[in-house]
């Protein structure tokens, strides 16, 4: 087997926090190689080093038989590495053709772009994917799936030796996934290597040859797909023994074991303009309702609709039996709903503000008298939550950006608990926090629910959902397709619920 890419002993730290420690990755010529790991395992960082977006702190990269220093995305492309990023790296305002050929456009007289040739080439590449569209129209006028395939078309058109695909199927439907797999196989047959990053383990078994697993910034295993099982891969990713996973629960939420109270929140047939088409659920007192589904299935969109972030175009919400139409987040907060958002950095913390100011942000209206903040009451309250949740910070006036991810998350959780909500929507509450903080956060959630409140829980970790939720609403492509009840939900049952409905369209 001829080695195309070899990355060895790669180190990278951000502000002193290590993201990669001695990571390594080998890709053979003409193979489809999977790279897996949980969020924060270091996959994206490793890829960004390979593509010249980040600079490595240490280690070696050899590509195509030579040692390389890749210092920019342009350099990576020139070396023969093409990348399709998870966040589409395209320009929606520009035409499809431009998005495919820019940087490598055919020219006349060495200066002028040969548009007829550029359009022809673009059409030809896209037709290999079975897509026939007006290539002169702005890319943004097409669906995300088409845009995704255009990104792939761009990568393919560069005649690269290595094509990196970061979560390429997360926004594709079944038919499009098949098209993509066809392209991947075609690439492999023509001798091009594909580095395939995906959360969806089933996919790996369909098209990959080998798989590298990462955890906590290290490379923990390299396996041949034929000789491995899904369970082994999961065990690698989580750092547990296979037997351990088979016999014991991973999480501490302990759902489905107690009596539930009245209905707190009901949603019926919700739709928004953000790819949510038909979503229903009901949350009772003392209940954790999980939202299950793949990335892009509409889980976060459903949460945003319930919290009044996205305008609801169809359907209705009943709050404790009364019809209610959320207008804005502050509207939802007044009605005693809280939402811990998925992206802690972009939508959670205000980095330069202190722990105290971050914690009381949602509570300000209640702390205000005549426009003034009641500082004494604020401090007492913050003190109390820091103790109760075991938040580790120098003092309450420390800027939140200096805290660890887990402690930041606890502060944000406190932000919502302080508003004494009856319904708490938690979007990936334990993502990117260490195991200790994770168990603590789960305990806080359980304690909160036990006081007779309701939780809507979104998690990409099936274990967390299966073990923690009393009920799981399974979403797909913006539709809620089925509901599972605990006790009795297993991870397999959840996976099969997601898989079973996949492709059958709206139920």
């Amino acid at each position: 087997m001829q080695v195309l890419l070899s990355m060895n002993g790669i180190d990278k730290a951000f502000s002193g926090v290590p993201a990669l420690r001695q990571a390594r990755l080998d890709v053979a010529a003409g193979e489809v190689h999977a790279l897996i790991g949980q969020n924060g395992a270091g996959k994206s960082t490793l890829i960004k080093i390979l593509t010249g977006v980040y600079k490595k702190d240490g280690g070696d990269i050899a590509f195509d038989g030579r040692a390389r220093e890749i210092s920019s995305p342009g350099g990576a492309q020139a070396a023969g590495i093409a990348t399709i990023y998870q966040e589409l790296n395209l320009v929606p305002l520009r035409s499809v053709t431009e998005n495919v050929v820019m940087g490598f456009e055919p020219r006349r007289l060495g200066l002028f772009v040969d548009w007829p040739e550029a359009h022809r080439r673009t059409r030809e590449i896209l037709s290999r994917f079975g897509i026939k569209i007006d290539v002169t129209a702005p890319l943004g006028t097409y669906s995300t799936a088409i845009q995704q395939l255009v990104a792939i078309a761009r990568a393919v058109s560069l005649d690269a030796n290595l094509v990196i695909m970061d979560e390429p199927t997360s926004s594709l439907d079944d038919r499009e996934v098949e098209v993509l797999f066809g392209v991947v196989r075609e690439l492999r047959n023509s001798g091009v290597s594909v580095l395939y990053v995906s959360h969806f383990l089933d996919e790996l078994f369909r098209i990959c040859d080998r798989v590298t697993t990462m955890r906590d910034g290290r490379t923990v295993s390299v396996r041949t797909i034929k000789d491995t099982t899904k369970l082994e891969l999961i065990a690698d990713m989580l750092g547990r023994e296979v037997e351990e996973i088979e016999t014991a629960g991973m999480t501490d939420l302990g759902g489905g074991e107690k009596q539930l109270g009245d209905v707190l929140l009901e949603a019926d047939g919700l739709a928004t303009d953000r790819r949510l088409f038909d979503f229903s659920l009901s949350v009772r007192r003392g209940e954790i309702v999980g939202l299950g589904g793949l990335l892009g299935s509409g889980r976060t969109e459903a949460a945003r609709a319930l919290f009044g972030v996205d305008a609801i175009s169809q359907g209705e919400i009943r709050l404790k039996g009364e019809p209610w139409k959320p207008g804005t987040p502050s509207d939802a907060i007044r009605n005693r709903i809280g939402m811990l958002s998925e992206d802690r950095k972009a939508e959670g913390i205000v980095p330069d503000m202190s722990v105290r100011e971050n914690m009381t942000l949602a509570l300000l209206p209640a702390l205000t008298r005549n426009g003034r903040i009641e500082t004494q009451r604020e401090r007492a309250l913050v003190e109390q939550f820091i103790k109760a949740l075991g938040i580790k910070s120098a003092n309450m006036d420390q800027p939140i950006r200096e805290l660890s991810g887990g402690n930041q998350q606890k502060v944000l959780l406190a932000r919502w608990l302080a508003t004494e909500p009856e319904i708490l929507i938690l979007d990936e509450p334990t993502r990117g926090v260490d195991v200790g903080a994770k168990l603590e956060i789960q305990a806080i959630i359980r304690d909160y629910v036990d006081r007779g409140f309701g939780v809507v829980l979104i998690s990409s970790e099936f274990e967390e959902l299966v073990e923690g939720a009393d009920t799981i609403v399974v979403l797909q492509d913006g539709y809620s397709v089925t509901t599972l009840q605990n006790p009795g939900i297993t991870e397999d049952a959840l996976v099969s619920a997601i898989a079973h409905h996949h492709g059958t369209g709206p139920a």
């Binding site: 593509t51 990576a76 790296n89 395209l90 929606p92 820019m102 772009v113 548009w115």
Partner: protein, 330 residues
């Protein structure tokens, strides 16, 4: 379909037909003027109108390129004033020296802008605001705060006052040439497409391996050069370098660019539509002058500023309505 792509009039004139409005408004205003004023269609009015507005057209085109990258250049007015003084000083050496000299002065300020924005990573409006100050101060320093008369004996004044081939003033010919050239650059070269791509998404453009910094440097140099050229026109047209001129020109240019359908956030834009926008803005004032002449209204010069601002306001309102959701674009 393929045949239609090459000769799509909508895409040639504007970016995507989204700015058909500016052409319609332009034609409507011309028809209105022709019908209402006797001398509106006279050769004298047309030529003097184009001559006067050639400065604004050229600045607007430069501004258009900057705005297409999502940037802004607030320094164009004072840079033009500075260049007019430079050109006036150089005028005894003839047009061969004064014209390139004035343009080079503008490019110099453009280089300062580019350096501050790209190398020092200072936000464009702050960098160009500072250059606006510096150019203004510089113009006053080198001119000693006086208008600098050009050398009437040299061939410099021919630029603004004589006609090429006895048909059109030189300024108009030059503007037309520059406009066509830049239109070709925008539509038919990788550089032009990179400019648009940066405005659409700078991050994506970097990840696509495009020469983002080169293109950004290009637009600020270009805008500086265009302002320099306008300064040369100013000096030749009025027979003097004008260190105090140029106030509010950036606003006119921005308005013209926006009227031409260019998104203020970048990523979409068109040279012909920008020219149309500049003409439209000029025409509004031309018609107001005629109305003043007829005595139906009596507007002081101060109204010009108010109307310019109102015009920009109206255009922004239109763009937020028509342009739809700018968040989606990013």
């Amino acid at each position: 379909m393929p045949g239609a792509e090459a000769f799509d009039l909508r895409r040639t004139l504007g970016s995507d037909g989204r700015n058909a409005g500016v052409w319609i408004a332009l034609v409507a205003l011309i028809l209105f003027g022709l019908a209402r004023y006797e001398n509106f269609g006279s050769a004298y009015n047309i030529v003097s109108f184009l001559n006067y507005n050639s400065m604004f057209i050229i600045i607007s085109i430069g501004m258009c390129f900057v705005i297409m990258t999502g940037g802004i250049d607030l320094s164009v007015g004072s840079v033009a004033a500075f260049s007019s003084v430079v050109a006036a000083y150089l005028s005894p050496l003839g047009i061969e020296v004064a014209l390139p000299g004035g343009v080079a002065a503008g490019i110099g300020f453009g280089a300062v802008n580019a350096f501050c924005i790209i190398a020092m990573r200072i936000p464009p409006f702050i960098a160009t605001l500072a250059t606006m100050l510096a150019a203004k101060g510089g113009a006053l320093v080198i001119s000693d705060a006086q208008t600098i008369s050009v050398d009437w004996g040299s061939n410099f004044t021919k630029l603004g006052m004589e006609k090429a081939f006895d048909v059109l003033p030189w300024t108009i010919v030059i503007v037309a040439l520059v406009a066509v050239m830049l239109w070709v650059v925008l539509e038919h070269t990788a550089l032009g497409r990179t400019v648009l791509s940066i405005g659409g998404s700078e991050d994506a453009s970097t990840l696509m391996g495009l020469r983002v910094n080169t293109a950004k440097a290009f637009v600020y140099l270009l805008s500086g050069g265009c302002a320099g050229l306008a300064g040369v026109f100013l000096a030749s047209g009025f027979g003097a370098g004008q260190p105090l001129e140029g106030v509010g020109w950036e606003l006119s240019a921005i308005a013209a660019v926006v009227v031409g359908g260019t998104l203020l956030t970048g990523g979409l834009g068109s040279v012909p539509a920008t020219v149309a926008g500049a003409l439209l803005l000029g025409l509004v004032f031309n018609i107001l002058n005629f109305e003043n002449g007829k005595g139906t209204i009596s507007l002081s010069a101060y109204w010009q500023m108010v109307i310019r601002g109102g015009f920009l306001f109206a255009v922004i309102l239109l763009q937020t309505r028509v342009g739809g959701n700018p968040e989606k674009a990013g």
